[in-house]
Each structure stands twice: as structure tokens, then as C-alpha cells.
Amino acid sequence: MADYSSLDIRQRSASTETPPEIRRQVEVAKLIDVSKCIGCKACQSACEEWNDLRDDVGVNTGNYQNPHDLTAKTWTLMRFEEYENPQTNHLEWLIRKDGCMHCTEPGCLKACPSPGAIVQYSNGIVDFIEENCIGCGYCVKGCPFNIPRISQTDHKAYKCTLCSDRVAVGQAPACAKACPTGSIMFGTKQAMIDQAQTRVEDLKSRGFEHAGLYDPAGVGGTHVMYVLHHADQPSLYSGLPNDPKISPLVAFWKGGAKVFGLAAMGFAAVAGFFHYVTAGPNEVAPEEEEEAVEMAEAKRRQNGGGEVRPH
């Protein structure tokens, strides 16, 4: 069985243990060359087949996009955008394979409250371990790319695993293996970056002067990268974030808030304790009981009441 020993884990969600630092695997990456993509959906098909997923048979809503969005059973999806380039007046059919970007600093992992439900292997793959997933949906809020989906049947989070089972035995992810035009490449991250450079040059020679590599620094870089003709405006490609980063809200909630919270609660308790040992209890003296009785007596007389009833 292909299995990652703890030594190959770089980060692990909600864990108090420090992950081992000794061993480092070579980082792998998937390079999606949008300029070579024909939107054939072979990647979607191969993904469903390899991962034994079968989504529902939907309907046509007026475009080529099916299923209409990522789901717990659709881990990768071709998104189609018809763009009329104002500079050239040419129609461009911008087709992007959407799916987990396998960030170096994964928002999902940062947000996850369940120990070991999300791990990052030292080769860069970010994997959901559904066995440990509690279905809270924090990863959905943590992800800057809107990728994870919670299944409404088993209430667990799902997304692309970068075929960790294939990569573990030295094979390319199913989508990369299938891709007919070689638009999806797979290899070491460095090899993919080098590959991207040659593609960018080719695109520039064909008039796309803003062609470039999408490997956003905001999340520490990704292990799924794009070659874009319009790297200056990623959002053209069905809303690919221009400058993705973990939301400050999530960052604060998982950082400052956590510390402040525990501190505040702890302080309240401790303060109470020291107050008790300094000021001591606030108790009723016997005299006050007697004064109370007298006051009651007096009040009763005013009211002209009878004898005090025996208990």
C-alpha cells in the first residue's frame, strides 16, 4: 500500500504536535497551460473515472459547462468564458480547468479545527483525510479559491487530492495523464516553472505580451500553476483571483482571536481566584440577621399585623 509515513507530512490541521522537519521530498506541481487547452473535459472524465466518482446527470443551462460547479463528486471542472479582447477585437474562448491549487500556505488547513483532517505532504500536496473531517465547513471559509465542497450526504469536505495515490507510486495525476493536448503537465515544481517559461516566450511571440505564469505569492505559491495569455488579469478566466491570499478575517480568527479568547477566559477565572484570597468572602454577619428580623418586626407592627407565626 502506498502510504505516507508521518515523516512526509509538512503540515497537519489543528495539531499540537510539531510535524517532523527532518525529511523533505522534492516538491511536485501540475502546470495547466491554458493556451494549449481545448476544453475537451478529458481531465474531468479521467478524474471521475480514476477516483470512482459519478456526479448526477444534470441539464444544459445554456453553455458547455457541466456539471455547473464543483461538487463533492466533481473535483475538477472546465470553466468556459467567452471574451472579446478590446485590443484585438478578437473573440477568445478562455477555458480554465478549475480545482484545488494545493497552496504552499493552505487556507483550508489553517482554518480546519480537526486534527489531521487536512494534511500537507512535504511534496506539496494538500490532502483531505475525510476520516478525520467533522464537516464544519471551516475549510470552505479558509480557501481563497473557493474549492472545497461539503457533501450533503456524509457531511464531509471533498476536493482534488492531486491523485496523491498515483503520485505516491510515482505516477502523474489522472487528469495530467489523460490531457490530450498536453495542456496539463506534471513534474517537479522546478521543472514546471522552467516549462512555463518556454511557453510564455512562445505566447509573447504570438502577440500575447502579458502572457505569464500564475503561481500566486499571496498563498506562498501553489502546486497547481497556470500559464495564462493574460497573466495581468487572471480574473478574465472565470474569476481566477487576481491576488489570492488567506482572508484577514480567517487569519485573525485563527490567530489573534484564539489567543485573546483563551487569555480572556483564563484571566476572568484567575482574577476571581486572587480576589477571593485577597478580599475574602462577602458574608452576612449574625447581627445583620437580627437587624433584619427587627426591621421586619417593626414593619409588621406598623402594618398592625398579629403575632409572628411560628415556623
Binding site: S35, K36, C37, I38, G39, C40, K41, A42, Q44, S45, E48, E49, R54, D55, D56, V57, G58, V59, N60, T61, G62, N63, Y64, N66, P67, E82, E84, H90, L91, E92, W93, I95, P180, T181, G182, S183, R199, D202, S205, R206
Partner: protein
């Protein structure tokens, strides 16, 4: 394909026109992407729709469907006017200098000898002037007013950029950009690959569409070159094989012909097929026709085919009409003249034009037999499926059989792909249920009939009872046994190529070894070499590729003679030097032809012998002008589709293609632009394969529901919302589908008027996992190409309106 898939990576320009390779052949299209990435190739896409192929193109040019000839004739004119020719190639390797005989003429869109009633030509004048030496007259200077070059200039003269824009709706500037890009490959070291498929064949002048590009490619000197050629991408996995093996009314395996009535005996039959050279010393390879024919007869009837009985010539049926193609078959059925149909892995109810006519034809037959691994609509044409198949079973008296057959994973054998490779495959699982292979079923049918004829006699039993049947297990011949028959074997002692003795019962090495003396038998001469004494060459799996030419000569077997690039002699100049070192395929080393591919030429024939590179042609050269070989003219001419939104501006008098066949009833079923203003076209989507993948869950998920594609402009005009239901109807029928409103289809301005295109993909029916839907054949007209009878699926007229969803089908 004249070349092969990997070869495309050598192209400098790639034109995808009359096809949509990225969508229909994604894995082959990889080599286009490779050419772009590693050979700095430019990709041109000419298509009515901005397709998936166009999405990665360097230059996209819109065109109105059915006007390719005008467009490409315009390109030819551009090349001629601007002297963008591969001169040496054109003068040495084409018939440009050949002088055409007196009497040949072309007036107002018609060639000499037209007979309006027959819708056919008398082609006698369509030939060369024959000199006193008995050979065709050639004017090397190409100045003779009747030489092919001059006639060509005259013929394409009308197709100016302005005229092209008028007819095709392609913007002049874009058209000229296309011309310029193509023209760059006139240089001897630059080549253009032309990729096409059904986008060219599905027309009433499909063959001429292809001819137009052949002319362009020949003028540019791109035929026979690495990274050049005419790449027919083809359709099904073995459509090449079925054509090669001649499963057609008028064919004998290896592109030989079934005799016609007028040829009562073998002498009269072969006389018409001698194919003597038209120039001195030319190969004219078809001179060997008789060897191939006699070997075929021996393969069919063995000892019963003897010289004395004309090689059992009478065993063959004789044609009274050019073809009994499917459309004629169902026309006859509709007329009640057919008793039954045996249908093997085929879904004609959703494959041939005019669904209503198909249903009527099926209903009039006594029986049909469907052999298929899937539950097809055809086998259920009688079953009521609500709106999707509104028939009343009780009114249909047809007896129907559905026989379960095995799938590719449950059998072994070979398939021929579009690169002409015969590849062997192996069995991976047992067949489910009671499935049987087509081989077993056809064998059983034959054996049972033979038995009945033996016992009770009947009409002319001889060809049946005498059919060669030397299989170890009579009712289950093995694919190997059959492959050995296709390859050919000796039936009597004979000699091989070197004159050495060969005993009877040996596999031949290749078709060169076939004899006309009855000593050899061969099922399909062009497949000879696929299963020799050395074994099954189709099962070879050595993918080494010397020189990185994309040839891989030892992978499987390619016909003919394991040759990977046809006409490869033309990749060298007349002296035998490659036009370009970079694109070297073969070369003359002083003694013989050597190189990366099997020479398409006599291996020891020296260049100075003046033998032309196109050895199958009587001229030895490529034909810019095709004599009488095409039914509808020696030059391509622009004719409008039979249903066209505009009239023919080039030849206003002519409606449709003059020589295309159309039956009376179908002629009456044609609609006009007043009633049906929109130009419809049908096509495939990459998520599906015909009607098959609607049975595969994943493909159903990827593209679940039938739709039609229209421009934003038309949608606005008609008040059609994105994703809403529309009704599309023609003179012949109606269908409902979702509307995909897209920028990828734009109205085309033809002759000043906007023409709206309605695109109708063809993958849905009433069986399988996808949502139920209609096939465009509910709407298409029954008219075929003049030469091949391929239906005009790519250009017809419809109307469109918003509508309500279909009431769900009653299963």
C-alpha cells in the same frame, strides 16, 4: 490520411477546415499543438462556428457552410495571381502542362455534356488531347490555351476576394490573411497540413470540397511532404478498414469494383481497367488490377474460380445503378421494395437524413435484424417513447431481432485507423450474458443458409455453398485465420519476388507477390503484408522512431506495404534530392531509394528515368484537373447547398449541385429560405461519440442534454433566452432542445444580407443515460454527394422559435 498523425508535428502551417479536429480527434490534435509549440507552426481555422479548435488557433476565419469551394478557389486564384507556387513541383509533378482535348468547356457553372433530365454528364470530352504517339500531349511551358494551368486560371478567375466575401461571408481582410499564411508554404522547405473530416464530406459536393484543397496543396507542393498532405481524419475506429475491405454496394476489397451489367464477362470487365500509362514509362500501378481481382476471386471461391469459368466472374452480382448505398436502400424500403435489413453495430434510425422517412421505411419492411452491443434506437423504432418517438407499435408489422454482440474488450482483431495503420488488439474480459461476436453470428447465418441450400436448393446456391470456409471451427473462425486470408496465400506452387519457388499454402509477403494465374489468393490486396509467414505484423509494438520523423516504422502495419507517407517520392526534387534536409523522408543514394519510410516508388528506379511520383496515376503526376474521374466535373465549382439561404451569386441559374442525385420524393421535401430563413449545420461535440456515449454515465454527466447553438443577435431577434427551450423545424421535421446563446456564432454577411447560423449537435436519442432528445436527422434533407452519396448533413435550412419543454417520454 496521406500522411500520419505524428507527422503533423512537422507542419509549418496547419489548416483545419471542413473539420473540428480538437473536438472530434483530441488525441490526434495533440500533434497540431506540438507543431505550434516546437515547430512554431501557425494554426488556421475556417469554420462557421468558433470551435474548440478555433480556441487555440492563430487565425480564425468564419465561413458560411457549403461555400468551401468558393473560398479555396479564391485561395488558388491568390496563389496563381501572386505567383506563390512551388514552381518545380508544379511543372514536374502535376498535370498543369497537359493539354485538354477540344470540346471540353465550362459555361455558366456547367461543364460540357450536361444532361438536365439525367442530372448527369457525358464525360467524353473531359480528357487529354492524345498525340500521335498514343500519349497525352504536354506543353512544358504551360502556355497552351487548353493546357490545365491556363484552364485552371480561367476557372478560378471569378473567385476574387470580393466574390469570396459575397459568397462565404468571410471578411475580405481575414480571407487575405489566410491566403498569405498558406502562401508561405510555397517555399520548398515549408509545408502546410490540411486537416478535414465530415465538415467537407457532408455536402452535396463533398468530394469537390476536398479536390479544391488538393489543388491548393499541389500548387504549394505540399503533397508527399513531411508535415504536408491531405489528412482525412475520418470517423469511426475502423471506418478506414471497412472502406478498404469494401463493405459497399459497388466495391471489392482494395478499391476494386463490382462489375456493372454492361460488363457481361471478365474480358469486358478487365478491359475497362487496364489503365495503360498516359505518358511514356509511367508506372500506372493499376495495370496489376487483374492480379488483385483474380487473387480475390480465389480467396472467395478457391478451386471454383478457374480461368475456364472467368475466375467465377458470374458468382459476383452485377450493378444496374451506380450504387445501392444506404439512402437508395431506404428509398427502396419506403417504396415497399425491400423485405428486410440486417444491421451490424449501426444505428441508422439516427444516422441517415429525414428521420420520418427512416421510420416509414423500417415500418414497411418484413423484418430487421440488429446486431449491437448496445440497446439502440433502431432496434426500437417501433417502440413508443412519447414525443421522442411517437409511433403506434400495433400499426407496425415489422419483425425485429436484437442480437447481443461482444465489445472491443471481449474480442481480438485489428482496426485500421486514419493513418492506415492496422493495429491488433487483445481480449480483456469475458462477454456478459449471451453475447456473441459478429464473426460467430455471421458464420452461423452463413452455415445455416448453406445447409438449407444444400438440403432444399434454391436460387443460384453456387456462390454460397462454394464459399471458401477452411476454418478449424466452422461456426467460430478465429481472427487470425481471417487475417491470414486478408493477407493472401499461395494456393498453388508459385514463385516469389526473386523468382524462388514457393509451395502452396504459404502466406505471401506482400501484394507484389500476387499473380494473375490463379496461384495466389488474397482477400484484400492492399492489406497484403499484414500477416506473413513471419507472423502477425499488425501486432508489432516497437515504437522506435529513427530520426524522430514521427514514422515509427515497426509499430503495427500500415497499408500499402507498410508505407507511412503516401507519394513520399514527391518529398524529393526530380533529381532525387530532398526538397528540404529538415523534412527528409527518402532520397536517392545513387543506387536506390533509401530513408526513413518505405519509398512510394520503384526502389531501384533512378530519378533520370523520368518516372512520375504518383505511381497509381496513369499520368504519373498529380491531377489539378481530373479528366472524367469525378461525376460532377474535372474542376471544383461553387454550387449552393440544396437548401440555401441565398441564391448562387456566381451562377444564378443553378440550384444545388447539378450532378448530385436526389430522389423525386426528397426533391419535393426541400424547403426554401422564405419559410426557413436560417442556415443549419450539424456536428459532434468532444464529450460524446455519436450515439454511443450517451450510454456511458460519465459522458452523460459531461454533456447531459441536447442543445442548439445560436448567435446573440438571433437570440435577441427571436426572444430566445440562454438555456431556454426552443423548437427547430425544417420542411421534414421538428425537434426541441435547449438554447446555447453564444458569441462564438456570428451572423455572416453574404451578398449584403445577414445569414444566421443554427448549430445542432447530434448525440441525443431516446436510449441511454443522457436526457432524451432528438438527432438533427429529424430535419436534414435526403441528398447525397455526386460521387459518394454522402448526405448533406452540414448545410440545410430551418426555422426556430421559443417553446415549452417536451412532455416527458412514455417508456
Amino acid at each position: 490520411m496521406t500522411n500520419l498523425w505524428m507527422d503533423i508535428k512537422h507542419a509549418d502551417v496547419i489548416t483545419v477546415m471542413g473539420g473540428n479536429a480538437a473536438e472530434a480527434h483530441p488525441c490526434g490534435f495533440k500533434w497540431v499543438v506540438e507543431a505550434k509549440a516546437h515547430n512554431n507552426a501557425k494554426l488556421i481555422v475556417v469554420d462557421p462556428r468558433f470551435t474548440r479548435t478555433a480556441s487555440v488557433a492563430d487565425l480564425y476565419c468564419p465561413i458560411r457552410q457549403g461555400t468551401d469551394i468558393a473560398f479555396l478557389s479564391g485561395v488558388a486564384k491568390y496563389l496563381l495571381d501572386n505567383d506563390k507556387l512551388q514552381h518545380r513541383y508544379v511543372s514536374a509533378y502535376t498535370n498543369a502542362g497537359y493539354v485538354v482535348r477540344e470540346g471540353y468547356d465550362f459555361q455558366e457553372g456547367l461543364f460540357a455534356g450536361y444532361d438536365a433530365d439525367k442530372r448527369d454528364y457525358d464525360k467524353t470530352t473531359w480528357d487529354y488531347e492524345i498525340g500521335p504517339d498514343g500519349y497525352a500531349v504536354v506543353d512544358e511551358t504551360m502556355q497552351h490555351p487548353r493546357c490545365v494551368m491556363q484552364l485552371l486560371k480561367k476557372h478560378v478567375a471569378i473567385y476574387t476576394p470580393e466574390m469570396v466575401e459575397k459568397i462565404c461571408g468571410s471578411p475580405k481582410e481575414t480571407f487575405l490573411k489566410v491566403c498569405e499564411m498558406m502562401a508561405t508554404t510555397a517555399a520548398p522547405d515549408r509545408t502546410m497540413a490540411s486537416l478535414y473530416a465530415l465538415g467537407w464530406t457532408h455536402h452535396s459536393k463533398g468530394s469537390q470540397n476536398i479536390r479544391s484543397m488538393c489543388i491548393v496543396q499541389t500548387l504549394l507542393g505540399n503533397i508527399g511532404m513531411l508535415g504536408g498532405g491531405m489528412q482525412a481524419l475520418r470517423g469511426h475506429s475502423n471506418i478506414q478498414g471497412l472502406t478498404d475491405i469494401g463493405l459497399m454496394s459497388n466495391l471489392i476489397p482494395g478499391y476494386l469494383n463490382i462489375p456493372v451489367e454492361k460488363e457481361p464477362d471478365y474480358a469486358s470487365y478487365i478491359a475497362k481497367r487496364q489503365f495503360k500509362p498516359l505518358r511514356p514509362g509511367q508506372t500506372s500501378y493499376w495495370q496489376n488490377y487483374n492480379k488483385f481481382f483474380i487473387s480475390f476471386q480465389k480467396a472467395m471461391w478457391g478451386d471454383k474460380a478457374q480461368k475456364e469459368n472467368d475466375w467465377a466472374y458470374d458468382y459476383l452480382p452485377k450493378l444496374d445503378v451506380p450504387t445501392y448505398d444506404v439512402m437508395r436502400g431506404f428509398e427502396l424500403a419506403k417504396q415497399g421494395k425491400m423485405t428486410g435489413y440486417v444491421i451490424q453495430g449501426f444505428n441508422p434510425l439516427l444516422s441517415f437524413p429525414n428521420r420520418a422517412k427512416m421510420t416509414e421505411a423500417f415500418s414497411k419492411m418484413k423484418f430487421i435484424v440488429v446486431m449491437d452491443p448496445l440497446k439502440t434506437e433502431t432496434a426500437r423504432f417501433w417502440e413508443n417513447h412519447g414525443e421522442y418517438n411517437p409511433v403506434d407499435p400495433t400499426q407496425i408489422q415489422t419483425e425485429v431481432f436484437e442480437l447481443p454482440t461482444t465489445l472491443f474488450v471481449e474480442e481480438e482483431g485489428s482496426l485500421s485507423n486514419s493513418s492506415r495503420w492496422l493495429q491488433w488488439h487483445w481480449q480483456a474480459q469475458e462477454a456478459p450474458g449471451e453475447c456473441r461476436s459478429d464473426i460467430e453470428i455471421m458464420s452461423e447465418i452463413h452455415l445455416r443458409m448453406k445447409e438449407k441450400y444444400r438440403k432444399h436448393g434454391g436460387a443460384f446456391p453456387d456462390p454460397i455453398v462454394n464459399l471458401t470456409w477452411n476454418y478449424a471451427v466452422a461456426d467460430s473462425p478465429t481472427p487470425s485465420e481471417l487475417a491470414r486470408e486478408l493477407n493472401g496465400y499461395t494456393v498453388a506452387p508459385t514463385t516469389d519476388l526473386n523468382g524462388a519457388q514457393v509451395p502452396a499454402g504459404r502466406q505471401v509477403d506482400g501484394f507484389a507477390q500476387l499473380k494473375d494465374d490463379g496461384s495466389t489468393a488474397c482477400g484484400c490486396w492492399i492489406y497484403s503484408g499484414c500477416y506473413t509467414e513471419k507472423g502477425n505484423t499488425m501486432a508489432r509494438r516497437d515504437n522506435t522512431d529513427p530520426g524522430d520523423k514521427g514514422i515509427a516504422p515497426n509499430w503495427a502495419f500500415a497499408w500499402p506495404a507498410n508505407r507511412r507517407v503516401l507519394y513520399n517520392r514527391a518529398s524529393c526534387d526530380p533529381d532525387g534530392k530532398p526538397w528540404s534536409e529538415k523534412k527528409k523522408l527518402i532520397e536517392w543514394n545513387g543506387k536506390q531509394w533509401v530513408g526513413f519510410d518505405v519509398p512510394d516508388y520503384g526502389v531501384t528506379v533512378a530519378p533520370d528515368k523520368g518516372v512520375g511520383p504518383f505511381i497509381l496515376n496513369q499520368e504519373g503526376v498529380a491531377r489539378l484537373w481530373t479528366r472524367g474521374l469525378m461525376r460532377d466535373g474535372p474542376f471544383p465549382t461553387h454550387y449552393e447547398p440544396f437548401e440555401s439561404p441565398v441564391q448562387n451569386v456566381a451562377f444564378p441559374k443553378i440550384k444545388g449541385a447539378p450532378a448530385a442525385r436526389i430522389f423525386k420524393g426528397d426533391l419535393a421535401d426541400l424547403g426554401d429560405a422564405k419559410e426557413f430563413p436560417y442556415a443549419a449545420t450539424s456536428y459532434r461535440l468532444t464529450e460524446h461519440f455519436h450515439g454511443w456515449t450517451k450510454h456511458a454515465r460519465i459522458n452523460a454527466i459531461l454533456q447531459p442534454e441536447a442543445f442548439v447553438e445560436i448567435s446573440e443577435e438571433l437570440a435577441k431577434e427571436k426572444g430566445i433566452a440562454k438555456g431556454a427551450w426552443v423548437r427547430v423545424w425544417s420542411k421534414r421535421g421538428s425537434l426541441k432542445a435547449k438554447a446555447v446563446v453564444t458569441k462564438r456564432i456570428k451572423p455572416l454577411i453574404c451578398d449584403g444580407k445577414p445569414v444566421h447560423v443554427v448549430g445542432i449537435p447530434q448525440h441525443w436519442g431516446f436510449m441511454g443515460h443522457t436526457k432524451k432528445g432528438w438527432h438533427p436527422n429529424s430535419l436534414t434533407p435526403v441528398v447525397g454527394d455526386a460521387n459518394t452519396e454522402t448526405p448533406e448533413f452540414k448545410a440545410w435550412l430551418v426555422n426556430i422559435e421559443p417553446t415549452t419543454p417536451p412532455s416527458d417520454a412514455v417508456a
